[in-house]
């Protein structure tokens, strides 16, 4: 049983990576319709903006409240803005917002592609002389990656605002004090880590959602299964990628300051 799970995991991971490479090769060789990419960014990204803004502001607010509890005991609330922003940008923000996007963007994309697969739309496109990877998958994958990346960045920026707002109106720390220590405590490496994580999470959501949808089979039940797998695999892969990037980032940080 355990062996089968490991074999399945390795096979699915390999298949997703190969699928991603096929999409990259197709785009490199034949290009992609920019109008379709813009359409996808609108459909996937723009419509997810309100949810992302809400999630981002709450993530920032939660961080500020939690960190304030620790700092208050040491009388170090002056550092709240810097610490909350650093934690939000480096780790908690990208992960939580990516979780939300995997549920919204990932599930939407895999369900849409899965339905196209089981209703033979993808086969029909092939029969009509068009490569479905170029016509259907590439614009969606680029749309998902770009949208997720932009939404994560927007979510993180809003998160800082959320932390600041809750500090001002709930914790009694003025916005000026909150901002004051941000440049001191938030290093460029924190910003870079947040940006790298946002990009990697966007790629993971796009690749897994598109692959699962494209390889769906067996009718409505098959679409249900592909959406479930997309949700589970994106969440797990985001956690694993977060661990990997955090480890590399910490190692690099130690190296730079040793």
């Amino acid at each position: 049983m355990a062996i089968k799970i490991v074999v399945d995991l390795v096979r699915e991971t390999g298949a997703t990576i190969l699928f991603l490479l096929v999409v990259i090769r197709t785009v490199a060789r034949h290009g992609v319709s920019m109008s379709q990419v813009v359409d996808q960014i609108y459909v996937i990204g723009f419509r997810s903006l309100p949810t992302t803004i809400m999630a981002g502001s709450f993530v920032g607010a939660i961080m500020a409240i939690q960190i304030n509890l620790q700092l208050r005991d040491f009388g170090a609330q002056a550092f709240l803005g810097g610490l909350a922003t650093s934690v939000t940008i480096r780790n908690v923000g990208p992960v939580l917002i990516a979780f939300m996007l995997s549920g919204k963007v990932g599930a939407y994309t895999s369900a849409e592609l899965g339905t196209m697969r089981v209703t033979e739309q993808i086969d029909a496109i092939r029969c009509l002389g068009t490569d479905p990877i170029q016509y259907i998958i590439a614009p969606r994958m680029i749309g998902v990656v770009v949208s997720s990346f932009l939404l994560l960045i927007i979510g993180l920026m809003v998160g800082i605002g959320g932390g600041m707002a809750v500090s001002e109106y709930h914790l009694g720390i003025s916005a000026q004090n909150y901002i004051q220590n941000i440049p001191r405590l938030v290093s460029w490496s924190s910003v870079a880590t947040g940006i790298v994580k946002s990009f990697v999470f966007g790629v993971l959501i796009g690749a897994i959602a598109c692959y699962k949808g494209y390889s769906a089979s067996e009718g409505a039940a098959g679409v249900g299964r592909c959406v479930k797998r997309t949700a589970v695999e994106t969440l797990v892969s985001i956690i694993v990628a977060d661990f990997a990037i955090s480890s590399v980032s910490a190692f690099w940080h130690e190296l730079a300051f040793s």
Binding site: T119, E120, Q121, D123, A124, I125, R126, C127, L128, G129, T130, D131
Partner: protein, 253 residues
């Protein structure tokens, strides 16, 4: 001409085609019948290169397809069209863009005026008015979507047509329209038609030949009359109801 030589196809543990062999001649209308899940649609998908055999050979118009690349298959797909079991229309495109999709992809040099003309001509063949052209698939009934999908395939003027249950979901009037169309294309333009269907009434009316599939091989192959009077028990079961409708009176005489 289409020829299958000892084609084997397996999905997981299940072997769907077990060394199947048959030939379909130019201009023939051949119905492929058999129980559900027996591999009828799989045969169509092999003919158009959507699937490749695990072993054996699939010949279409003198070319063996098993090792063709997608680019090589493009030339085959210009001449072989497929009408799917589902309408398989693209939701984000209008009906016009759906029908014009193949012609634009395969003959990009064709002037837009000629594309319009071809689309309207095929629409008329299928009893569809041109006011549907600006609408989206979700605004049409299932039967209309089916006919649009047929128009989308016909617009390329293929020399061979593959139909996967073309009349499912159609009313009797439009079922007759589709059957007449298949017959007309075959007789007037020598278009080869391979039809997967459970509609034995249609099969007996328009088929030149019927292939009966069971256990992954062809168990009966003959004209509609051969099938009606076949001693094969499965063929008899399939033909019983349609036989009474079409041949009932003659039998009593």
């Amino acid at each position: 001409m289409i020829e299958f030589k000892n084609v084997i196809k397996q999905f997981g543990e299940k072997q769907v085609l077990r060394g199947i062999s048959f030939t379909i001649n130019e201009g023939e209308i051949v119905f492929v019948i058999g129980k559900s899940g027996i591999g009828k649609s799989v045969i169509l998908k092999h003919i158009i290169g959507l699937m490749r055999p695990d072993s054996g050979e699939v010949w279409v118009e003198g070319q063996e397809l098993s090792h063709f690349s997608e680019r090589q298959l493009l030339a085959i797909r210009k001449r072989v069209g497929m009408v799917f079991q589902y309408p398989a229309l693209l939701d984000s495109l209008t009906i016009f863009d759906n029908i014009a999709f193949g012609i634009r992809a395969m003959t990009p040099e064709k002037a837009e005026g000629l594309v319009h003309q071809a689309v309207k001509e095929k629409l008329g063949l299928l009893n569809l008015h041109s006011d549907v052209l600006a609408r989206f698939p979700s605004e049409l009934s299932y039967g209309m979507q089916k006919r649009v999908s047929l128009a989308r395939t016909l617009v390329l003027n293929p020399s061979c047509l593959l139909f996967d249950e073309p009349t499912t979901g159609l009313d009797p009037v439009n079922t007759n329209t589709v059957n007449d169309l298949i017959l007309r294309l075959s007789r007037a333009l020598k278009v080869t038609s391979v039809v997967v269907s459970h509609d034995m009434h249609c099969a007996l009316q328009i088929a030149d030949r019927i292939l009966l599939l069971d256990q992954g091989v062809v168990v009966a192959d003959g004209t509609p009359a051969d099938m009606v009077y076949s001693e094969n028990q499965l063929a008899a079961q399939f033909m019983r109801e349609a036989k009474e409708k079409i041949y009932g009176n003659q039998d009593r005489r």
